[in-house]
């Protein structure tokens, strides 16, 4: 109950801060300028079949809200600080439990070298660090094969430090930007993966661990073309309790899972020419875990890619389309293998999700936009790692195809 009150207080504070900021997006504090920015987005999703993203979408659902407010200040020429609070409700996820999205102290010594520490957004591909801020893009939902919104917590930030910089090459060979990071990832118990585990009777109390990696992106000599690659390694532990799978009547037993190998490779490119933008990314996530204190083991190979195009017809209107391709294959070893046969055929709907999307975006003014988006999905890629489709909200099973209408509006200042 007190969390609901806390959430309400946070929302009111955001609203107050928003009102204040709309009047003046900056103020002076100790002779330093402090900028205030925020956003609020509200969505509605209707699906013809299957409930999606933990919402009751087959009936139409508006449980699709997120908002955040940040403050930042350039303290000296090279030093800046800032923080952002974030909250969301996505069906069964988030549930209006506010979180500290990022809180950073950033010291930029030179263009080619800077460090930032605190709770830092993780650099992974083109959009990982801004995946919650849909007003930055044409689309209401990023391609879910690479940026699953229900698993935002898994990649969004780490408590640690980054080294970063940009190196300009001579002879017009472009600019190379690098980031190297290490820290601790901490998932909310209201995020997608703990919710997924709850379908097996697991009650997760903590989930997180070491996250480290790097990113290289090259702004090529060809104007508008950027290519890059990211790598992320993790050592994650989850703890809680679960129904004993070997003797369900015996009640709850301690549950744990931990990484034996956990890495993500991502390759991406972006090309912007005039009003036209093309993006493409490929992500492979390899996950080998010990389950139930090492009595079982799981191997999951998750691969996703997309190609998207967006075009600005005029100042107020954009259109876009993408194709998103997701597959998952999984093998369980040890004691649990009796319950979970190998699932390696990615041609069946249970192990893939192919999503064709069209979008229209209207900017009503500089701060307010409305989007209409159609998703035409084949497959539901339901496990052992979630991707939008959960058994808890699809008790009667899954249909192979899902069409979804997404309406979303966002305010930002």
């Amino acid at each position: 109950m007190h969390k609901r009150i806390l959430s309400l207080v946070f929302a009111l504070w955001c609203f107050q801060a928003g009102q204040f900021a709309l009047m003046a997006q900056e103020f002076k504090l100790l002779d330093r300028t402090v900028q205030v920015h925020g956003f609020l987005s509200q969505g509605f999703v209707y699906t013809n079949d299957n409930n999606w993203l933990t919402m009751n979408t087959s009936q139409g659902s508006a449980a699709f809200t997120d908002f955040g407010v940040n403050m930042s200040s350039q303290v000296t020429d090279k030093f800046r600080i800032g923080a952002q609070g974030y909250d969301r409700n996505l069906g069964q996820l988030g549930q209006y439990h506010p979180s500290l999205d990022w809180a950073v102290a950033d010291y930029r010594l030179k263009s080619w070298f800077g460090v930032r520490g605190g709770k830092v957004k993780t650099t992974l591909g083109l959009y990982n660090d801004t995946q919650g801020e849909d007003f930055l893009r044409t689309f209401a939902l990023l391609p879910q094969s690479v940026y699953p919104t229900d698993l935002r917590d898994a990649t969004i930030s780490h408590l640690g430090a980054d080294m970063y910089g940009e190196i300009s090459f001579r002879h017009r060979l472009g600019v190379l930007a690098y980031t190297a990071y290490a820290g601790h990832r901490n998932d909310s118990i209201y995020s997608g993966y703990p919710y997924y585990l709850s379908s097996f009777g697991a009650d997760i109390k903590s989930y997180g661990g070491l996250q480290y990696g790097g990113d290289l992106r090259w702004s090529t000599p060809l104007k508008g073309l950027l290519i890059g690659a990211s790598r992320m390694n993790e050592d994650i532990t989850g703890k809680g309790s679960a129904i004993n799978p070997f003797d369900p009547g015996a009640g709850l037993v301690p549950y744990s899972e931990s990484s034996k190998a956990d890495w993500t490779n991502q390759f991406y490119g972006e090309y912007v020419v005039g009003r036209f933008r093309i993006d493409s990314e490929y992500r492979r996530y390899w996950r080998n875990q010990e389950l139930f204190s090492g009595t079982s083991e799981s191997f999951a190979d998750i691969r996703g890619w997309y190609v998207s195009g967006a075009y600005r017809i005029c100042k107020r209107l954009q259109i876009g389309s993408y194709y998103s391709h997701y597959t998952i294959s999984n093998i369980v070893g040890g004691a649990l293998s009796a319950f979970y046969p190998p699932a390696t055929d990615t041609t069946i709907p249970a192990n893939h999700d192919y999503d064709k999307v069209i979008t229209g975006r209207v900017d009503l003014n500089k701060f307010w936009n409305v989007k209409v988006e159609g998703h035409f999905m084949n497959g539901y890629g339901s496990g052992p790692y979630p991707n939008g489709f959960y058994t808890q909200v699809n008790a009667s099973g899954f249909a192979p195809n899902t069409n979804a209408l997404v309406l979303k509006t966002s305010l930002n200042f």
Partner: protein, 229 residues
């Protein structure tokens, strides 16, 4: 069939049509605390996209933008490779909401930009080439030819013909230089601007001397002529 071809042509024309023809002529200005007189085009981009907070000599700079209008659009198009102000806003908002930057200062007119740059240490902005800038420094922009990394050792200022100055005829002259291995300017081509001012600029630049290099290099630069200054 004919309709199909016409439709295809229309789609191609619409997709690849530029936003509008950019006609404005822009100059980059800086506060007197900025030590350099020239700035590379790639430095302009880095500074105005907050990829860099200092110039090559270590001077800290703070960019200031205009809010709207042809000068703003011309600057975005020419130096930042950004299609529109909306693209610029999206770029900066991505920095702001990921904790990696702040929104830049944006002012409503050339006069406001000049006034702000004049009173703010390290400020760097842009205005129309015709705008009087008073005590503010106008930076010569060097394009990214293969000679962009060669340092200028000797600089001779061009003469501003009195007749043109009296008639308030000014603007920016764009030149392409061929710099020899020893650093002397071997050839000059006037790429744009008033032809008389171009001739004057070329006569001065012919006397410039750059650092030596193993090979002959080509670079482009812009020289402003401010009739109010």
């Amino acid at each position: 069939m004919k309709n199909h071809k016409l439709l295809s042509l229309l789609v191609v024309v619409v997709i690849f049509a530029p936003f509008r023809v950019i006609a404005a002529n822009v100059k980059v200005i800086a506060n007197r605390s900025v030590k350099v007189d020239t700035i590379y085009a790639n430095e302009v981009k880095s500074v105005f996209l907050e990829e860099s907070t200092s110039l090559r000599d270590g001077t800290h700079v703070e960019p200031v933008f205009e809010k709207d209008g042809p000068v703003h659009e011309a600057f975005l198009h020419e130096y930042l490779a950004a299609g529109t102000d909306d693209d610029l806003q999206s770029y900066y908002r991505a920095l702001v909401f990921s904790g990696r930057g702040s929104m830049p200062k944006q002012l409503g007119s050339d006069a406001e930009v000049v006034a702000y740059v004049a009173r703010t240490k390290g400020a760097i902005g842009y205005v129309s080439a015709e705008t009087a800038v008073g005590d503010v420094k106008t930076l010569t922009i060097v394009s990214e030819g293969n000679g962009a990394q060669r340092r200028l050792i000797t600089r001779v200022e061009p003469d501003y013909p009195n007749t043109l100055k009296r008639l308030n005829i000014g603007g920016t002259v764009r030149l392409q230089l061929t710099i020899g291995p020893r650093g002397n300017v071997e050839a000059i081509e006037v790429l744009g601007g008033n032809p008389i001012l171009g001739e004057s600029a070329a006569a001065a630049v012919k006397q410039w001397v750059y650092t030596a290099s193993r090979s002959r290099t080509i670079t482009q630069l812009s020289i402003p002529f401010d009739s109010q200054h």
